[in-house]
Subunit: 207 residues, 2 copies
């Protein structure tokens, strides 16, 4: 059985739990809290030298890292990832957008405000997150004001990758009512059978 | 012919020029300087709503964005990108590492120091870049101290993506002599026939 090392409140970790669930794979979940330094221990760095969650250990002992690479790995051959060519490239454009232009603002603001609860000490950082996050939501709105999903291939891992932190963006101080196309898309994705929301609930007992 | 919008000193843009060259495709190059605000004009935002270079217009009018998605697109079916499965996932792990954990430190430091020339105004930001960049180079060193390339599939777009800013990391204040495995890998990649270095030289006249 696949072992996933992750945090049940992390959008990046949600991606892995979600694609495993959608593709019918069970997993064993090991809770790891990066806010408590648990991703920087020697034990965890032996699992993932980059010192980040999520990480997943496969049955053959291989360890996968990087949440969006894991999404693509587990989605290969399913309807969640189109075959190679322009439709697949469109998915990867959104995956890289998510990691570079969305997550560093929207996930970081949420972590500061709702998990670390240190907003008072990070006013300047939060302002940078606000500017970057609003720009990212604006890019999504441009697409989603006129389309049901992020790419023309129907729901894909691009939608999962962006749903991860967008559906909890309010916890980072973003008022999603300002982006009606994004809000409608969030409801559309949430209605897909099998989609769950944060925080993750695990059927298996945590290790 | 493919039209690439990019900056000849940008590592992200280098990736696109490099994979097109390695896979035998000619391109028309349109120079765009983000430091002069040229990626935030209405004209450029109509090409790429995210407001970033590189972007590439294909013969059918489609526009590709996100440098690492473009690397994968143009490498599909070539020896630079393994077929789907674990070998391909290993490549994507490095691509996402590059965009999340490497570029935001190493490319940003280089831009502040060597292009904007505003190091005096950005001491705190540069210190963050130093810490993040050294951590990223350390992760690469762990792999490259014992292996010729970033994945077991031989030279791939993972090596191109990381070569992009690592081979000019000294321009961001990083002393690569501290990472001998990385330094040896840089020489190994540079020796591959067809590999060029920054700044890009274009055979076609700029538009």
């Amino acid at each position: 059985m696949i072992t996933v090392y992750g945090s049940s409140v992390s959008g990046n970790c949600w991606k892995v739990a979600q694609i495993l669930r959608l593709t019918g794979r069970a997993c064993r979940w090991v809770e790891v809290d990066s806010n408590k330094g648990e991703t920087r221990t020697a034990e965890f760095l032996a699992i993932n030298p980059v010192g980040k969650i999520p990480a997943a250990r496969l049955d053959d002992g291989s360890v996968l890292i990087e949440s969006d690479a894991m999404l693509a790995h587990f989605a290969e051959g399913t309807r969640w990832l189109p075959p190679p060519g322009l439709p697949r490239t469109r998915v990867f454009e959104w995956l890289f957008f998510e990691q570079y232009s969305h997550e560093p603002s929207i996930a970081v603001a949420r972590n500061i405000i709702s998990h670390l609860r240190t907003a008072d000490q990070h006013r300047e950082r939060l302002e940078q997150c606000r500017v970057g996050g609003e720009r990212a939501l604006g890019v999504m709105e441009q697409r989603l004001a006129k389309h049901d999903f992020l790419t023309d291939a129907g729901p894909t891992i691009a939608d999962l990758a962006l749903f991860a932190y967008t559906h909890v963006a309010d916890e980072g101080g973003f008022d999603l009512a300002r982006w009606p196309g994004v809000s409608a898309w969030l409801r559309r994705v949430a209605d897909i059978p099998g989609i769950v929301k944060l925080p993750l609930q695990h059927e298996e007992a945590p290790a």
